[in-house]
Symmetry: C2
């Protein structure tokens, strides 16, 4: 696959000596440049006063390049989004690469540039990192771990969910999973189905700035909307009732799901979140979210019935459970 | 290799649904249990007031079990040590697993238990995590990333190095690299050569509690003692002069180095650090460190000569440079 003329990563780039030092300076520092990173110690020194959120994710998505994003983009957006969902300002990220010997410099640089571009959307900075190179065959190309810390400006939690609360999704669901599925299957789609992969902080900030009390927020990644709603219902021991017809789903996503037997609500998203607010704030919250994504929608509410379960009302008056997904039909989605 | 009767990790354990939820609860929460982790959100909420250190490392060591430690132990000790070296109390760790499909539960549990045991030595807690499972062949067994945050109680930095400062190593050097080398080569050694892999916070805390002004500290991991001293000398543009005869080296490490043509000063350590203090505090610092490791030794000093270089004085009066290591003779050391 690799052009033999292209420069490749060698084991020495992870050896802790001359070559690793050059890689860090010429590639990582070049693109991630900021005051804290350039202090050039093993650990970054930060300053906080008050509550701080801390989160981690490793990213192993395959293929590493897909319509709407790539591994580098998802590695930044994913952790920034975990901070945003915790009501925290995405401020500082770590970045740890596990690189398979033989990866081209060109691809590594492409992924690093995507990371840098995605950081711009939230203003988060990469302030510490790590580089490991493993021999050919010991990893599949490139894995990236990012961890993040940031000051909490809100305190959303499923613990605050109450009967009657409105459940909102920030855009149409299932795009990322469908996009990865299509790219693996080599499908040529009529429509340009792109992943939703994106940084959610601007939308969260707009909600908070407008005084929306985000009672609970969660990005619907692995396990999709179904995983988030089931975790909330089970943790809080309340029911969640969803109006099936209201679920925003792109026709291309719907079509793929019918073809492969998936549920859109179980497909992963990488730039879509679920928000719970009091019924009084529901319309305003949807209106704010629609400034970012036109298909932000009120999809249901928290109910005193069906404790611990998620129930979908069909347009024909029937009901069915939306279950916590089982098994793994689509590995390496993120 | 795997006993077919043993339960193994499947792709579904990384799918974000029922199986992943069970793995997290039954294995990770069981061994890492603490108040913050059990809050059960994607991000941990912490509280800080003042300067905080933040660091990350991915661990890919092979073999995963070696004399003196294993992947789980190194994954905790490594990040705890990076915090300690920054003068920070190791308080909170994240933990992200990349698991190859087919890894046995038994091994995963063994590694997780080793992590929990190592956490006890510093009091650090794992407060957030991530689990990815990749198909067979896409990773080599198990990779673990840990990131860490903790309050700074001191501010060591190479920027504070001055001519005359004493350079101390906390114990004999090169053990981890030699131990991995021996286990890869299948060598039967006369002596029980064990890795130095260990948590350094108790020794650092003892130094700080005694009022030692740790001007600079760095654990001598990849690239060994040679990498630390060269980085300090080059960054600060001062020389470092080392008395070659004073370097504490176990005879088994020395023997392996002679056999394979390595320099003990270039071999990785995983529980050995370099400390710079004013000449007035050198004896006291060595005495404190010897309570933890009898071979803690004053090995040299910072010099106005040889700017940016590390020079070794041999017992015969000759001098040679200790160079920043080049190439990679021993991949996947950590």
């Amino acid at each position: 696959m690799n052009n033999p003329k292209q420069r490749c990563i060698e084991l020495s780039h992870g050896g802790g000596g001359v070559e690793m030092s050059a890689l860090i300076r010429k590639l990582f520092f070049k693109h991630f440049s900021n005051d804290i990173l350039l202090a050039d110690e093993d650990a970054a020194r930060l300053q906080f006063n008050g509550p701080v959120a801390f989160t981690t994710d490793s990213f192993t998505v395959a293929p590493r390049q897909f319509n709407g994003g790539n591994l580098g983009k998802i590695a930044v957006a994913g952790t920034v989004n975990d901070l945003a969902m915790a009501g925290a300002k995405p401020q500082y990220l770590s970045c740890a690469f596990i690189i398979e010997e033989g990866l081209t410099f060109a691809e590594l640089e492409l992924q690093v540039k995507s990371m840098a571009a995605e950081l711009e959307k939230s203003g988060a900075k990469i302030v510490c990192g790590d580089t490991k190179v493993v021999p050919k065959g010991a990893a599949d190309g490139l894995f990236i771990n990012t961890s993040g810390v940031g000051e909490c400006v809100a305190a959303p939690s499923w613990r605050q969910l109450q009967t009657g609360d409105a459940i909102i999704v920030s855009r149409d669901i299932g795009r990322h999973g469908a996009c990865i599925l299509a790219s693996r299957e080599g499908l040529e789609l009529d429509s340009e189905l792109a992943s939703d992969c994106d940084t959610l902080w601007p939308a969260v900030k707009a909600l908070l700035d407008a005084g929306i009390d985000a009672k609970a927020m969660r990005d619907a990644t692995r396990g999709g909307l179904a995983a988030v709603l089931n975790e909330w219902a089970a943790s809080r021991q309340l029911g969640i009732v969803v109006d099936e017809q209201s679920l925003p789903i792109d026709p291309a996503v719907q079509g793929l799901c019918e073809l492969f037997g998936f549920e859109p609500a179980e497909l992963a998203n990488e730039g879509t979140f679920v928000l719970a607010v009091s019924p009084e704030q529901a319309d305003e919250a949807v209106a704010i979210l629609q400034q970012f994504q036109p298909r932000a929608t009120l999809i249901g509410h928290v109910s005193a019935d069906y404790s611990g379960k998620v129930v979908q009302n069909s347009p024909w008056g029937s009901k069915r459970y939306m279950e916590l997904p089982k098994g793994e039909l689509l590995p390496r989605i993120c």
